[in-house]
């Protein structure tokens, strides 16, 4: 198999090829590292490449598989981590000068679980500084670029995860999502990402942005791959105070059940037209994806979008207060170590009151009830992955994001599982995503619908020209 063809495989395809002995874990690592060296200079998706460790782990995987020890579908599969997942003995920067040379002495639970499943660590990925603000243009590491057009943003904050996957530089990645940071880069880079239910996946060893809104989750190039990664990292963890002790179903087994008769609610009225409203091309792509779901047997209906629209205010208030509280000491001692974008946003939290924060948490309870009440009428919600195509770096306007509907952060506020799947392209070959949101702990329902849509379309098979 040609090295680039190896890189183009999905996790599921690679797992099968490994067991057929068509390829070896070492060949895979060599192919990916060579590709990273050739391509990543213009994308900057990796901050740290762990080539030696990856080769060592690949040799171990090869020996184990040869001797009949099979740890499952991730055995021998290279993955990469957003650079806020703590890795013992490996620099974890959060893309910030504040932690530029920080080497943690623990592993994140999710990384431990991936290692136990036999996955290989290829490296640590670029992101928005501390998972907040915009592209980090004044951080010690360059801002990540979009593989579909390097003049455009890849979306964030898990920007390196989205870009590396789209560029075929790794097979799977972990992102984190506090207001859309898994789903936005998934949408902007035409890959798949799932923000699981709050509590489903451990946050232990993930540098916090906002304790009550942070979610850890997987990103990959297919829904099936995402389901396999989620399977490996989901489950109760006593080290995470928010971890939910609920059974973990077999996500992969549920994928092919079909969606005939599934009721899809679209919260359009009162939300999609908020302020500047959704970008028209993005809305056209979204409407086409609804037509596809309908043709597959889903029943589409409208639900009230107003509570979803208000959710942004509560999400942002809680986020800046919790983020500032976490970073307060650094802001008091060395505020200018933060990049401009994240500093300006986080400092807003210093000037809100305890009453502001608690009112937002009270509003959260109210909005959660209003939003989840819709599940009496529909099985899932469908919304775009983002309100507009990825913007050009040269035209970035930090204020504009507040003038468009935010299609992701209501599901951080409510903790609902939400998956973004590639759903087409707008002018300039810029990707769009379809987001499916399911009831709490029903990731399988969302994965099932996303899988049916993905298999009926060809968007996920397209590759950027690099």
């Amino acid at each position: 198999m040609e090295p680039n063809e190896i890189c183009y495989l999905t996790i599921a395809e690679t797992a099968a090829a490994l067991r057929r002995k068509d390829i070896s874990p070492i060949e895979i690592i060599d192919a990916l590292i060579n590709r990273i060296k050739v391509i990543d200079g213009k994308l900057h998706s990796f901050i740290t490449l762990t080539a030696d460790l990856a080769r060592q782990q690949a040799r171990q995987a090869e020996q184990e598989l040869r001797s009949g020890t099979d740890r499952g579908p991730l055995h021998g599969i290279p993955i990469a981590l957003k650079d806020l997942y703590m890795t013992k003995g490996i620099r974890t920067t959060c893309h910030s000068a504040v932690l530029e040379n920080w080497v943690p002495d623990i592993d994140a639970t999710t990384y431990t679980k991936l290692r136990e499943a036999g996955a290989i660590l290829l490296g640590k990925l670029g992101m928005h500084e501390f998972a907040f603000g915009g592209p980090s243009i004044d951080a010690p590491f360059p801002a990540v670029r979009n593989p579909w057009n390097a003049d455009h943003v890849p979306g964030g904050s898990s920007s390196g995860s989205g870009a590396a996957l789209a560029a075929r530089l790794c097979y799977g990645a972990l992102g984190s999502d506090t207001g859309g940071s898994i789903r936005t880069p998934s949408s902007h880079c035409s890959v798949v990402g799932i923000k699981p239910t709050y509590g489903r996946v451990s946050r232990y060893g993930v540098v916090p942005l906002s304790w009550s809104l942070d979610h850890a989750g997987p990103m990959a190039r297919s829904v099936e791959d995402c389901a396999m990664l989620l399977q490996a990292i989901a489950g109760f963890d006593a080290k995470d105070p928010a971890s939910a002790n609920v059974p973990v179903p077999n996500f992969h087994a549920a994928l092919k059940a079909g969606i005939k008769g599934r009721r899809v609610g679209v919260p359009r009225a009162g939300w999609f037209d908020e302020n500047l409203g959704i970008d028209r091309q993005t809305e056209t792509v979204f409407n086409q994806s609804l037509d596809m779901l309908k043709s597959l047997g889903a029943i589409i209906s409208d639900i009230d979008g107003k509570p979803f629209s208000i959710a942004r205010k509560a999400n942002q208030t809680i986020l800046v207060c919790e983020a500032y509280a976490y970073h307060e000491k650094t802001f008091q001692e060395t505020p200018m170590k933060f990049g401009t974008s994240v500093r300006r946003r986080m400092l807003e939290g210093a000037f809100l009151s305890a009453a502001d924060y608690l009112t937002a948490q009270r509003a959260r309870a109210v909005l959660n009830e209003q939003i989840t009440a819709n599940f009496a009428k529909v099985d899932v919600f469908a919304v775009p992955g983002a309100a507009r195509p990825p913007e050009a770096f040269a035209a970035m306007d930090p204020n504009e994001q507040n003038l468009r509907p935010n299609f992701t952060n209501p599901f951080n506020l409510t903790g609902l599982p939400a998956i973004s799947v590639p759903s087409g392209f707008t002018d300039g070959n810029l990707p769009a995503g379809l987001q499916i949101v399911a009831p709490p702990f029903q990731e399988s329902t969302g994965l099932q619908m996303a899988y049916a849509y993905e298999q009926a379309t060809e968007w996920h098979t397209r590759r950027p020209t690099l």
Binding site: S212, A238, P241, N245, I310, K313, A314, Q316, T317, V320, F331, Q332, P335, M336, T340, R343, R344, R345, L347, E348, G349, A350, F351, L352, D356, L358, T359, A360, Q361, R362, A363, R364, A365, V366, L367, N368, N402
Partner: protein
């Protein structure tokens, strides 16, 4: 909040919070702070006296550690 925070007000609030921020930084912060305050204030219309915060102390969670 009925009125916007002024630059002078922001400077005093920053000092109370133990923040030493240059003047141009305070100026850059001001629009975002006022937007955040306005947003937080708007949420007050959504809650009734009986609504408790979504985050509550979880004693059962503490016990399992």
């Amino acid at each position: 909040m009925d009125q916007e925070i002024s630059l002078d007000g922001l400077r005093k609030m920053a000092e109370r919070a133990g923040l030493k921020l240059p003047e141009d930084e305070l100026q850059g912060l001001l629009p975002g702070v006022n937007r955040s305050k306005k947003q937080a204030t708007e949420l007050r219309g959504l809650v009734a006296a009986g609504n408790e915060p979504a985050s509550t102390f979880d004693l059962a969670g503490s016990a399992r550690q």
